[in-house]
């Protein structure tokens, strides 16, 4: 199994009701798969897949996750002003 530390922000955080969680997934899981699992569990999450980051770097949906990875799903950003 692969243990992931997952972070949620803004609308995601409110939909999930938590800022972070630990999730265990099978080997061979992609970051896109992780999002689909979360969508199943938390139906209030957005229907369109957001950007994702692995260990604080943007990652494509088909990127494999690894044990200990820090995963973040990034709602459309709106900082700056």
């Amino acid at each position: 199994m692969v243990t992931l530390h997952i972070y949620f922000f803004a609308t995601h955080r409110e939909a999930v009701g938590a800022r972070e969680m630990t999730l265990q997934v099978a080997e061979g899981t992609t970051v896109g798969d992780v999002w689909e699992m979360l969508r199943q569990r938390y139906p209030k999450l957005r229907t369109t897949r957001p950007a994702a980051a692995i260990n604080q770097e943007y990652a494509e949906p088909d990127t494999l996750v690894h044990d200990g990875d820090e995963i973040a799903f990034i709602p459309p950003v709106s900082g700056g002003a």
């Binding site: 770097e57 709106s78 900082g79």
Partner: protein
């Protein structure tokens, strides 16, 4: 200096981070909380960030600027938490030898920040609140920001 902080921003400190003897121009951008947006009266804003990644991405923007405008130095501070009208949410300072580069590079920095830095804004008004969703992060590359800059000259706007 590339920082996320929940403290009021200190513009002079951000500018001091990029001062140097061969820099003749400093251009500073401050994003300030407005009292209205899209015709609605705003009570205050709340900014949330993914701080470690946001600081990395801001530093990446500084690297992009140094690559495109050699010698340019960039510092960025973004605030989180509750901000009242008139408070600064972001301060970006860029120093260069000559002034045109400082304007262009600083403008590029705020456009890139709004496109890719993981920070989110919630508008709160009397009786409601709303998370603003802006740019689908990571979907925009550097060239898009540069292309947009080119269309922003005063003659065409």
């Amino acid at each position: 200096m590339f920082i996320i902080t929940d403290q009021p921003l200190n513009t002079a400190e951000v500018e001091a981070a990029i001062a140097r003897p061969d820099a003749g121009a400093i251009v500073t951008f401050q994003g300030v909380v407005r009292d209205n947006n899209l015709g609605k009266q705003v009570s205050y804003l709340v900014y949330e960030a993914y701080p470690p990644m946001a600081e990395k991405v801001m530093a990446q923007i500084g690297d992009e600027i140094a690559a495109r405008w050699p010698g340019a130095r960039t510092a960025i501070a973004h605030r989180t938490g509750k901000l009242e009208i008139g408070e600064a949410s972001v301060v970006i300072a860029v120093s260069t030898a000559h002034r045109a580069d400082a304007f262009d590079a600083c403008h590029y920095a705020i456009d890139r920040l709004k496109a890719i830095v993981p920070v989110w804004k919630k508008e709160v008004w009397e009786g409601g609140e709303y998370w603003i969703e802006g740019s689908a992060a990571a979907s925009e590359d550097e060239q898009a920001a540069l292309d947009r800059l080119e269309t922003l000259d005063p003659g065409s706007s």
